[in-house]
Structure formats: structure tokens, C-alpha cells
Chain length 338, copies 4
């Protein structure tokens, strides 16, 4: 009964079906009919014309989009605990050719105009200091918290005012939208986002994420950069097929709701133990070593998490689109019984 | 009846079966049991201990290996028509942080100690000129020609003598081995190759190539660089599964033989028209525009190729593991009848 | 009467003399007799064999040395307020091809084994997190504080134990040595420093800093990287001449003593106002806006500095080798009289 | 009596005078009054508003300008024997973050619309091939030949038509203008050049070249890139002083005329031996080994040059602004007497 991460969950049956349906020759790279259908599918979803390109990983998708926004001598403002800063092996340094990440604060790994402004303020407008060119936010955040549309819009307004691009790492975008109950556009393009990663791998896919560009000029650059990064797969139809299957009849949203629902069941059992509000499919839970040992001894697997000051221990629990309801209920009961 | 490229061919049924078998949760990235089985599988195949890592594309696989051999201020010697020079969108410049490609000559896109030495000779050993650190050869070559074991060994000896690494782009390695009838080791590690890309995508796979390192120190660097390049997929088991399925009971070799056999049938029909010997699954054929039009009008699809001087036109024909024998025979007859 | 910065001070007469003496043709780049004399001059100074190369700026000198120690996928530990982090326009990102700076704490911009260990501890040894390869310390620090030989040795021991290189940014190394009264070697090579920038521009030079390598393998890389960075000037003899003139009869030390002595005179006047101990030629002084206005109104020029929490204001005062004693005394009196 | 290279010649007395005049404190970096005077000085010279920035070397100046024109995934068309390709230690790969150089042909190392078009033609407009973004020409060329204004204008027209930037490496621009007898603007900005390096080091300077931007947006980028490359010297006034001294009363042109005149005297003696027309201050001369030995035995020093096919040997002779007329005449006579 594992609650390690959604990033190893199985592939959804409808994705498998789409993969098999794609198993006929077509043009290579992204010239196939499925890859060419992405723009329309996402434009419909977001209610605005946009350009969508696939990539195999969120790391690549995030960095390719940021590299189109930020010159090598520039910088990106992101949260101190953003995935691009902490867990991508220095990929932004590689893709952005040495551009900097400027680290800002915020509860729940959420930025705000205030915390962003706090790091922008001391930067002198001279050549000795690296100048910001973009802001990157993660939706849902690294602590499973969701920006509301107004939150994104406030950051988008700041970005516009400062001449900065706005990027969204949406590895768990589906979970955030499922929680918010808003349209995908309300919390992105309508709020000033220029480009985003729309995650599918954690939500029923196998190996495909989407980069969605609300500014087509960014996509024009990324097409070249994607090839240059070795991310233009020759059999691209197998990536597009996954994405289209998950967009079809809002399977992405249905999957996210399943994961979120499981997370909420656990959250209720963790009342008093939660380090952050549960607004997606991740829980950060205060659990002592003894408690963790007890849970593991009866078959529950999950990762340790650094304990906040004064706490005896902590753990991260992640649910997925296919978390077994029986396992979830069992874990909820086990935690309640601690 | 298309003969465009093997890089869009369908996925082999045994690969599909392996993908489905992998559809159970396991550890993420390359911590799963399938990814961890690669070293042994390739060590058995090559008869030497080696380290194997997957990547989604040959572009990434080639460049990651080269980046472990060559510092940013160095250079790689490759053929003027090497894929890394001509068709990878500048990926070596990206992955090698601006290192140069030094372009050498050779019939059939094959290098030799003589042509390599010819470009090394004028390089002064001073800081004003970029110094070579590795040689990259393509097996089978971009013109479908195969290096014999002695050919590779001669280049390997030169590399050793000059202190250069030796890399092999084996996008169509299977086709070369099928043609040569040698062991995989005879034409690689036994001949001085330090690292290679072992291609599977063109040979029945979906989205997985292998980097094989005969020097484990190179793999230690590449593990970091692969993550940094966004090529460490979280569900790595789906890549490893493809590779293991194709290695199992030498399916890779069987597939390559099918493609090569189809190519030989076409080659017999093209006697007198061949620009290069057919030693893999690609044919470069002299065909006038009228002849190409005639073939296309009856349903044969293929790419044009630049005509050599004095020729009226040319085309590239590529066969695949699943080329329909009826289509192949029909094309052979049509060419014969021209 | 300006106390802005030592980096705009005039050139020492003995440096001028050396420049004129160098105004005869010699071999280009660093093949001239003066450039070739640097190794011996520094080996004598440090009491150990070392290799010395010139560069026009400290930014280039620091980054070239670090780039020889750290691969593009690695990181450098430095102080949060280190010059390479704050004031070099992102040069480390450029020269190190996107490697990261890991920011550690410490009073007076001085690192310690404890503060370094604090940032190293949470770094997992996996490919998702950027691994450290070097530590960089600044002597004297960005706040004019000096590492004692034992301080550097303790950091050197940590570096050795963790397999990290140790780099010293010695833009004001002369001032630190003048303050410490130790040999140059005691606080560098004897304490585990692998490579350093030995600053001359702020100390009577015009346009030459020295990179000193106690590990000659680093210099071998830097020779190529320096050319590649456009820092191999063709008339290198004019750079070497400056350095040799300042080394001759310890002019570097004499100049630093003059600057330090002026700083001490000011420090005595600033008792109770100093934000950091004065151990080189920089003073960070609590001064209210009204006090600063008063000083400026009678002809003293200096930069504002961000006030610490709770303070009414602050300023930075910098003395130089040629600070006019009358100006120094006048400023000391003016501050005392506030 | 050396004819090795103009890049080691002494510094002109008027440059020395200017350096001494600059030996008073001023603002740092390029905030001093001399650096701030460069825009006007060059705008007057070129008859058009332009922005001028100093750099210590031509390598840095060329690469900084090109990096502002070409994204990392792009390419620069240059001559196969261009200095940026052959002799800058891979600096373009570093500064342009891995962008490619596309090598074109042309007698005398001169490009033409025809030879440029020949390399542009086969580049497919797809992401698999690196797309050109700029053309770089060298004036005078690496073989001492000068583009006429109409030659540059023809290339400029091609650049405009193809949407490419046009860069000029003017390491010996002064010699070209002295030969052509045209205005500096006629062969640059009036002919479509966007940015250039105006060389001074080989022409009486010590350590300063100028980057001149006819498009101010390029300069805005280069200001940041120059700092990031460690080329923003703190005592910039000593670089600006050199440039202004050489611009003053057309000293740059006077010096170039001296060098050219010496070259012409040698050229007359080399009639029948010249590999290229002598249009600047470099001569490429057919000389057998015996002849070279004879010349060297009587005190003439110069570099060997690779002999063209069928020739018994070759040498390069370079004159400078201060070539001793007696030495020049002696060498001319010695060659005549061979």
C-alpha cells in the first residue's frame, strides 16, 4: 500500500487504448496528425488560441519554456522550494545557459506579489546584478497548495508591470483545477500566464507532458530548443496520443478528482497533523518516528519529510488517480488510530 | 507503401507486451527493477562489464555520452555528414557547452584513421585552437555503410594514441551487426569504443535508446547530466521494458535482419543506381525526377536526396523491421521496370 | 575627498615605470619574458611551486579558476553576500556553464566549517540535487574581515574531507595579509587553498589581476579557458609588468599597509558605529541620513549602504593605497565631531 | 628586424600621454568621463548615431557583439578561415552558448553574396538544422584583403533580405580604410553593418578595442554580457583613453597608413611571390625554405605559413604602425635579391 508518489502510478486504460490506436505509421517527429491536433485541443480547453508542444518530462517542459522567456544573462524569480530550484538537478542552469534563479518566500511554497517584490526591490538596475526576466509559480505548489485565480492574477499584474514573463509549472495542474473548480483558463491565461507545463505523467499518462504557450512567439523558439535538447522524439504520435486521451471527455479532471478525493479522506484523518492545507493530492503530515514505524509495519509506504522545528517528525503522503480506495481508507483509519 | 524512414515504424508486439507487463508500480526514475536489469543484460550481450542507461532519443543519448568525454573548450572529430553535425539541431553545441565539431571526410560517411589524421594534423597544440578530445563514428553510417571490426579497431588505436575518447552513434547499430555477422562486442568494446548509443526506436521500439558505457566513469557523469537535461523520466520502467524486450532472445537482431533483407531485395533491383553499398537498411539511389514521379504515381513514398554532380536525381529508400514484403517486392519490380 | 572605492584609485608610479619598461616588442600573448617570469615570482612569494596567469579583472580570474574546479552540473559553496553571487553580473553562471552557487551564512561575510556544513547537510547524494564541487571564500571578505590562517585551514580540512576544491577570491588579499602579519602562504596554500585570485587593480595596478594555482592541473585547463573567454590579451607583457612591479620589494604589501592604516584611523573615529571589525581597508559605518548629509556637505564622498534593522542609516568607506592622509584625518575628525 | 605580427607592437606616444592624463580618480567601470565620451566620438567618425563600448580583446569584442545577434540555437555564417573559426580558442562557442559557425568560401578570405548563398541554400527551414542569424565578415580579411564599400553593401543587402544581422571583425579596420580611401561609414553602417569591432591594439594601442553598435538595442544587451564575461574593467578610463587618443586627429588612420605603406614597399619587392593582393599590412609570400633561411640568417624574423599546393614554401610578413623604415627597406632589398 504505497503512498510514495503519483509519478510512478500506472497508465490509464484509455491512455493505453490511445497508444495502441497510434500504432500506425504517420509522419515523424511532431508532423503526425495527433501532434498536430494538440493546438486545437488546448485552445478549446483554455478558451483562447494557444500552441501546445509535448515533452517527455516536466523538467524539460519547464526549462524549455523558461529558456524562451529569459536570456542567459537574466534571472527567474521562483519560490525557495520550487521544484526547478530544488529537484531538477540544475536543469534551469543548463537550459537557460547560466541564468539565475532568484529565490522568494511564501507559506505553502506559494509566492505572492509581496514576497516577489521583496526580492526584486534590492536588485539595482545596473549590469553588476542579474536582472529578472520572468516569474515561475507552481500550481499546485510543492506543498500541495493551490493558487486561486485572483492570486495568479495579482502575480500576473505584477509581472506585467515589471515587464516580466509569467510561467506556471503545472506538474499537478489538474489537481489544482479539480480543487478550485474553476476553468483551466481562469487560473492561467486569464490571469496573465504566458506559458505553462500541463502535467499528465502523474495523472494517468506514461511519458508525455504538454507545454502550453499563450504567446505563440515563445513556441516558435521552443520548437528549435526542444530539438536541440534531444526532446523531439521521432515517434511523437505516442506522446500526443497520451495527452489527447487524457484531454478527451476531461479524463484529466476525472483522474485528478480521484486523487484529490483520496487525499481529502486522508486529510480528515490527519486533522491536527497537517503542515499545509490539502488542496491537491499531497499531504505533509506530522508523524513521529514511532508513528511512522507503526504505519510502515502494517504495510503503508511513504517518504519521510524533514520535520519542522519543534516537531518530532514528518512524512509526505501522495495519492494518485488510481489509489486503491481500500488502501486509502485503511491508511486513514490507521492514522486516526495512532 | 512508404519507404520514408524506419523512425516512424510501428512498435513490435513483444515490446507492447513488455510495456503492459511494466504497468505496475515500482520505484521511480531508474530505480525500478527493469532499469536496474540493464547493466547485466548489456554486459551479457557485449561479453564485458558495462553500464547502460536509457534515454528517449538518439540525439540525447549521443550528446550525453559525448559531453562526458569532452570539456566545453574541446572538440569532437566526426564526419562532415554525421547526424550530430547535420541533423540534431545543434544539440552537441548545447550539451557540450559550445565545444566544436571538427569535420572529417570519408566515402559513405565512414571515417578512417587517414581522414581523421588529416584534420588533426593542422591543429596547433596551443590555446588559440580548439583541441580534440573525442572521435565519434556512426554505425551503420549515415549512408548505410558498416564499419568492419578492423575498421573500428584502427580508429580505436588512433584514438588511444592521441588520447581521444571513441564514441559510436549506433542509431542503426543492429542493422550493422546483422550485416557484419560479428558479435556486438567485436565492433565496439573490443575495438576501442568507450561509449555508444544502441538504437532501438528505429528497430521495433517506441521511445527508448540505450547509452552503453564501457568506461563506468563516463556513466557516473552522465547520470547527473541526464537528469539535468530533463531526460530522467519518472516512469523509467516503460523505457527499460522496451529495451529488455528487444534484447530478449535477440529480437533486436531478428528485426534488423528483416529490415536488411528487405533492403537487399531493393538493392538487387537498383544495381547500377546505388550511390553507396547497401550494408544496412538504407539505400541511396540514382533516380531521375521522371522516374521518381513514376514510382510515386503508383503509390511508393520516399524522400528525395540531393543528386551527386552529374546525376539527374536521387532518392533515399529506407526499410524497417516491419516493411511489408509485398510492398518491398512491388517496389523492387517497379524500379527494375524503369 | 572621495572614499567611494579603491577600485578607481590611480596607478602607482612604480607600475607606470614598469609599463614603460615593457614598451618594447616581445612575443605575443603570454609568451613574453615578463609573463613567463610570473610562476617564479609567485613561487618565491608563496614558498611553494605554483603557476600564475594574469587576467584583466577579478570577475574573470575568479570564474576561470572556479570553472577548472567545478563541472557544469556541479556547484560552488560561497557566502550569501559573496561578490561572485551578488556583484558579478552572473559571471559564474556563464563561466561555469550553469553550475549553481550554494549560499551559506556567516558574520562579516566569513564562512566557517559550521556554516558550510549546514548547507551541505541537506543535499541528498542523488542526481536530482546539484552536488557541490568547490568552496569559494573571499579574503579579505566583502565586509573587510580577514580569515585567520587557522580559519582557512579549518575550511581547507573540510574541503579535503568532502572532496571539494577550495578557491579564494583575493581581490583584497594584500589588505588581509597586511592586517594578519602572516606570510601569504600561511593563509592560502598551507591552509588548503587550491587556487586564488591575487588582486592588484585595487592596490596600485591598472588592469591586471593574477590567478595563482597551487595545483598545476587547474592552470592547464585555465590556459584554454582564458583564451576562450577572450582574456588572453596579445600584449600580455603590459599586464605581467604591473604584477611584477607590485611584487617587487613587496610593493603590494606596502600599498596595502597604507590603505589599512588609513582605514584604522577612520575606524578609531567610528568607534561605536562599526558594523564589522575593520581588518582591511573597508569600513561599514552606522550613519544617519542627516549625518551623511553633513559629511557630504563638507566634501566627503562615499556610498550609502543598506542599514541593518533598527539602524537609522549606514555607509561604506573605502581607503586606498594613495588615500590622502590629510583627507583621512579630516574625515576622521568630521565623524568624531558628529 | 621582426615582421611577426602587429599585435605586439609598442604603444604610440600619444596613447601613453592619454593614459597618464587619465591617471586621476573618476567613476568606476564605464561611468568615467572618457568612457562616456566614446559614443559621441564614434558617432562623429561614422556620421551616424552609434554606441561604442570598450573591451580588452578583439576576441571578446567580436563574440560579445555576435552573442547579441544570435540566439544559442542559431548560427553565424563566416569564412572558413575567419579568425573567429580558426584562432579564438572556441570563443564563439562559449559566448554564443553553443551556436554554430557555418563556414563559407571565398578568395582572400573574403565572403561574397554568392559564397554565402551557397552555404545558406541547403539549410532546410526546419528544427533539425541550425538556422543562421548573422553573417560575420573581417575587414581587412585574414589575408590582408579589403572589402570595397560595394562588396559590403551587397552582403548587407543579402543579410537584410534573409533577416540576418551583419557583423564586422575590424581588427585591422584602420588598415582597410587607409587602403580604400573611403569614409569609415561608407564601408560599414552605410553598407548595412549592424555592429563591428574597431581594432586599436594592433594600431598603436595597448589593451583596448571598441565595439561599435549601429543598432543601440544590441549595445543594451552587450552591456550586461560584457560584465558577465568579466570584461567590464573597473578602471575603464584607461581603455577609453587609448581609444580617444587614437581617434583624436585621425591618429588611427595615420598609423594605419604607415603600416600599409611599409607593406606596399615589401609588396613591390615580392612581385610574383604574392599569394594575395596586399590591401592592408599583411603579406602572404611564396618563399622556399632555403629563401626563408637566408632571410632569417641576416636578421629578419617572421612566421612560416602553410604553402599552397605546388609551392615550395610560404611566409607571412606583417608590418606595423612603427615598423622601422630602414628595416622595411632592408627586407625589401633582401627579398628582391633572392
Amino acid at each position: 500500500m504505497h503512498f510514495f508518489s503519483d509519478n510512478v502510478a500506472s497508465v490509464h486504460p484509455r491512455v493505453w487504448a490511445a497508444l495502441h490506436a497510434a500504432d500506425v505509421p504517420d509522419f515523424g517527429y511532431d508532423g503526425d496528425s495527433l501532434s498536430r491536433a494538440l493546438d486545437e485541443a488546448f485552445s478549446t480547453l483554455f478558451g483562447r488560441p494557444c500552441v501546445a508542444l509535448w515533452a517527455a518530462t516536466g523538467t524539460a517542459a519547464n526549462c524549455l519554456a523558461l529558456a524562451a522567456m529569459v536570456p542567459p544573462h537574466g534571472a527567474v524569480v521562483c519560490h525557495r522550494e520550487a521544484h526547478i530550484e530544488v529537484d531538477e538537478g540544475g536543469a534551469p542552469g543548463f537550459y537557460l545557459h547560466g541564468a539565475k534563479l532568484i529565490l522568494a518566500e511564501g507559506d505553502g511554497a506559494l509566492l505572492s506579489p509581496e514576497t516577489i517584490s521583496a526580492v526584486l526591490a534590492p536588485i539595482r538596475r545596473d549590469v553588476h546584478q542579474v536582472q529578472p526576466h520572468a516569474i515561475s509559480i507552481t500550481q499546485a505548489s510543492e506543498y500541495g497548495c493551490a493558487y486561486r485565480p485572483a492570486d495568479v492574477a495579482a502575480i500576473g499584474a505584477l509581472a506585467r508591470q515589471r515587464g516580466l514573463g509569467l510561467h506556471m509549472d503545472g506538474a499537478r495542474f489538474a489537481n489544482a483545477v479539480a480543487f478550485l473548480g474553476c476553468t483551466p483558463g481562469a487560473v492561467t491565461v486569464d490571469a496573465g500566464v504566458d506559458a505553462m507545463t500541463f502535467g499528465f505523467v502523474k495523472n494517468g499518462g506514461m511519458s508525455a507532458e504538454a507545454m502550453v504557450f499563450f504567446d505563440p512567439a515563445l513556441a516558435d523558439v521552443v520548437r528549435y530548443r526542444r530539438k536541440r535538447a534531444g526532446h523531439l522524439q521521432s515517434k511523437g504520435r505516442y506522446l500526443a496520443a497520451q495527452i489527447l486521451a487524457l484531454l478527451d471527455r476531461d479524463l484529466w479532471l476525472e483522474n485528478a478528482r480521484m486523487a484529490n478525493s483520496a487525499a481529502q479522506e486522508l486529510a480528515r484523518a490527519c486533522a491536527g497533523r497537517l503542515m499545509h492545507p490539502v488542496e491537491a493530492n499531497e499531504l505533509f503530515v506530522l508523524l513521529s518516528d514511532a508513528e511512522k514505524t507503526a504505519l510502515r509495519s502494517v504495510g503503508f509506504d511513504f517518504y519521510d519529510w524533514p520535520a519542522p522545528e519543534g516537531a518530532a517528525g514528518a512524512a509526505r503522503l501522495v495519492t494518485a488517480w488510481n489509489s486503491d480506495p481500500a488502501h486509502v481508507t485503511a491508511l486513514a483509519r490507521a492514522i486516526t488510530a495512532l
